[in-house]
Symmetry: C2
Subunit: 130 residues, 2 copies
DNA sequence: TTATAAAACAGTAATCATTATCAGTTAGTT
DNA sequence: AACTAACTGATAATGATTACTGTTTTATAA
């Protein structure tokens, strides 16, 4: 028994996507909520969470886990690497090519199948380094 | 104004360390609590959390963040890489040498200082691949 | 267009991993 | 043995995320 669940457009989801696509920051759900309210003032936080999950599930955005207790979201859905600043806690994109050979190195060590990887750098961002 | 805070031994902290050093799993705080209770039956969950934080701060254990909503802990404090099984959700150590040159690649792209990195592989573990 | 059904919503309550609090206990020192 | 500060067990509080519910919106088609 399979059931197909249709997806309907919603102003709210489009506003959330617009927020994410117009920033290079990697906002938390709360920050996305604040920005989305500028477009749809009575949007609710639950709606933001629900749609962020949906967009992640659809592969339209990325969830970035940096271990600070918040989920961060990224409008750039292509796999790429991040820098987490240990001073200001901001998350930055790194202009490094996604390296599929890393998967091969791991693949040589296990019988199971390696599907992907996530690489996170910790250090000081340009701004905080000044 | 600096103040030195002394560290006192405690049976509880030693039991927690013993739990972590006797497993290759990467238990959550709750699991550490369950195991520690076998050694000290009336140990409290708060004590487990408090000492896990302390041990991480002291560099005696590692906190492994795999994005499943739980903190995982690792008695092996040397930097190394992990595989997260997408089927059973377990965390495994990978026998791959920690690659410092990855830091250099990132270092070439930023003005700030890259200090470390975390690399996490996703896929199927040996057991689930059968 | 209107009617209909299901998806999505706003508002709010519930969940639950983790942290904080606090009175009593323990380890280390004099 | 007495002192002091770190530590503990028990429990309450926190806070990000999820679930619930009655209402609204979207998409489809009569």
């Amino acid at each position: 028994m399979t059931q197909t669940i249709k997806v309907k457009r919603s102003r709210q989801r489009e506003a959330i996507l617009e927020v994410l696509n117009s920033t290079k920051a990697h906002p938390t759900a709360e920050r996305v909520y604040e920005e989305a309210k500028l477009i749809i003032p009575n949007i609710s936080l639950g709606t933001v969470y629900r749609n962020l999950s949906k967009l992640v599930g659809a592969g339209e955005i990325l969830k970035v886990d940096v271990g600070d207790g918040y989920d961060h979201f990224d409008g750039n859905s292509a796999p790429h690497y991040h820098l987490v600043c240990e001073k200001c806690a901001k998350v930055f994109d790194l202009d490094i090519k996604y390296d599929n050979t890393l998967n091969n190195i791991a693949q040589n060590k296990v019988k199971g199948k390696i599907n992907s990887h996530s690489l996170l750098f910790y250090g000081t961002c340009d701004e905080c380094a000044k």
